[in-house]
């Protein structure tokens, strides 16, 4: 049996179902992200684990014990909130030591543990500050230390980086991951940011409209999306409407231009959609690959990559080119040929 077992969880608020039929087994020491748009039920599911919501049906089992109806303060589950939620009347040290004080630990032990935690978040000098004297990033580190101080069995993070600037967000997410791995603490991480979920998770659960769409390693989720929703939500995706020419050979056509796919086509004829990741497309002719010709519509410089949109018939294809010095970029209006390997095509039935 898994360390944390969510078994057929459903949660209804009145007639509306926030979460439906959610089952997940989380292994000890694993970091699992819940990824989805707002209102997809990811936070509700997290709150069920924390004990702030009691599921309408289903059970939460933590290391063999059914905790579905156990009040939050008896669960030994650490939580970090989007709004930091540090106690404004307490110093950093008092915040971090709060849980230990409640648990009636000896004073020396609290002091030792608080110092240990402040070292862990690299803020050993700031124990006497009040929350309002700290930056957002620092406050969230303290919130993390506070949640970890009581040595919870599970760590829950509810959009912990959403209120921070882009730069701090990237820094702090790798720090969270490294702390999580060092302590080997079982963690659930809720986010709507796909890049965040892909970069720090052992596994990602993609959710939509209260349901699980796909569960898998980041690599799997990105490269082998199981549903159109996952494909569209995780990363950028080009859609190309095609007609079937020869299903057995994987031959398709778009606007008079032929292309070949490695994917199995079950449809004998008619229209279908080919999905392509921007990084799979490149400019220029490559032998043995598919080729499509079109006109450059826009060129956007994004730093490490350059995003180019090419118009092919009625469709617009986005592609990313790595920014290398000395590279000549196509200009808007240029005629270009795009190449992509047959195995890059992901085929969806219907237009």
């Amino acid at each position: 049996m898994a360390f944390l077992d969510l078994n057929n969880i459903s949660k209804k608020f009145g007639a509306a179902a926030a979460v439906e039929d959610f089952s997940l087994e989380v292994q000890k020491g694993e970091l699992v992200s819940f990824l989805g748009p707002s209102g997809c039920g990811k936070t509700t599911t997290l709150r069920v684990v924390a004990g702030f919501e009691i599921p309408t049906t289903g059970a939460v089992v933590l290391s063999g014990e059914d905790i579905t109806r156990k009040p939050p303060h008896q669960r030994n589950v650490g939580m970090v909130f989007q709004a930091y939620a540090l106690f404004p009347n307490m110093t950093v040290s008092e915040n971090v030591g709060f849980g230990l004080k409640i648990a009636k630990k000896a004073r020396e032990e609290i002091g030792r543990r608080v110092r240990e935690m402040l070292d862990l978040i690299q803020m050993p000098q700031l124990g006497d500050r009040y929350p309002y004297q700290l930056s957002g990033g620092q406050q969230q580190r303290v919130a993390l230390a506070r949640a970890l101080a009581v040595q919870p069995q599970v760590l829950l993070l509810d959009e912990p980086l959403s209120a921070l600037d882009a730069k701090i967000r990237v820094e702090l997410r790798s720090e969270i991951r490294s702390i999580q791995q060092r302590l080997a603490i079982t963690t659930i991480y809720v986010t709507h940011d796909q890049e965040e979920a892909l970069s720090i998770s052992d596994r990602v659960v993609v959710m939509n409209a209260g349901r699980m769409e796909q569960v898998g390693a980041p690599y799997e989720i990105y490269n082998y999306p199981a549903t159109p929703f996952v494909a569209g939500f995780v990363g950028t995706l080009n859609q190309l409407k095609c007609t079937v020419i020869d299903a057995a050979a994987g031959l398709l056509a778009h606007n008079g231009q032929r292309l070949k796919t490695g994917a199995l086509i079950e449809q004998k004829e008619g229209a279908l959609t080919v999905m392509l990741r921007p990084e799979q497309l490149h400019i220029g002719v490559v032998e043995g690959e598919n080729q499509l010709s079109g006109k450059v519509e826009s060129v956007a410089f994004l730093g490490s990559i350059i995003r180019i949109v090419v118009r092919i018939g009625e469709a617009f294809l986005t592609l990313d080119v790595l920014n290398k010095r000395g590279h000549t970029l196509p200009r808007v209006g240029d005629e270009v040929t795009l190449s992509f390997p047959p195995h890059a095509c992901w085929v969806l039935p219907g237009p």
Partner: protein, 260 residues
């Protein structure tokens, strides 16, 4: 900009004169007990009257009871409303405003009619006066606590404390109360000022209190009565000053709250 500034100061000055002139006049009047010179004779006489200590002491006692009961009633209620039933906040607010709508005389007679006979005979106990004062203080106490709770993220702080192992009592005592310190003090001092200066209830329900004592003094001793009024004003201002002083800065403290 410049012209607007001048006008603003002029209006402010007029307001101040309108407000302070009667107070200064009263104060000066209270110093004329001895016809030939200014003195604090009226104040000396007030303090040496045993009736002053008795009635003021009674009012202090009523104020203390009122504050304790009002806090115990309002804080958990408003906390609960914020946390679990925000829809009911306007209703609770409306109920607390009733003392502004119903005149004190009407309320007092209502209380006498309701509680002068079984099943609840309360008119012979000071509980009826304290109960009336709790109602009277509701708008101030509610507003103070409500503003205090709005200034902090009650729900998230509660959940954070719960996830760290704190039960309801611990959450209220260690997290909510300390962060409401200024708001609670504000409610307490306003309640104190109201109860100490109150006349109608104390007179109609016939319990010793400072308000009726001042009125009684007026009937025979003008200078002493004005001295008492001045003292009473000073006390109220001192209370408000204390709130402001306790509320200055401080880590994450809520602003001074209250319907003033």
């Amino acid at each position: 900009m410049r012209r607007a500034g001048v006008w603003a100061w002029l209006l402010f000055g007029l307001g101040m004169i309108y407000f302070f002139l009667p107070l200064i006049a009263s104060f000066l009047f209270s110093l004329r007990k001895l016809q030939d010179r200014l003195s604090f004779e009226a104040y000396r006489l007030v303090f040496s009257d045993p009736g002053f200590a008795y009635s003021f002491g009674s009012s202090l006692r009523w104020a203390a009871f009122t504050i304790v009961i009002s806090l115990l009633l309002v804080v958990p209620t408003v906390y609960w409303v914020h946390l679990r039933a925000p829809r009911f906040r306007p209703i609770v607010e409306f109920i607390t405003l009733m003392p502004f709508v119903v005149p004190a005389v009407v309320l007092a007679f209502g209380l006498i009619r309701a509680y002068a006979r079984p099943p609840l005979m309360l008119t012979s106990s000071p509980a009826i006066l304290v109960g009336a004062y709790v109602v009277l203080s509701l708008p101030y106490m509610f507003r103070a606590v409500d503003n205090g709770l709005r200034a902090i993220d009650v729900r998230t702080l509660t959940e954070a404390a719960q996830s760290l192992g704190a039960g309801w009592v611990t959450v209220l005592w260690r997290v909510i109360f300390p962060n409401l310190r200024v708001a609670l003090l504000s409610g307490m001092f306003l309640t104190f000022a109201i109860v100490v200066g109150e006349y109608t209830f104390a007179a109609l329900l016939a319990w010793p209190a400072f308000g009726p004592y001042v009125v009684l003094t007026f009937q025979s001793k003008a200078y002493e009565a004005v001295a008492l009024s001045t003292l009473s004003f000073g006390l109220t201002w001192a209370s408000i000053g204390v709130i402001q002083w306790l509320g200055r800065g401080g880590p994450g403290q809520a602003q001074v709250a209250g319907a003033r």
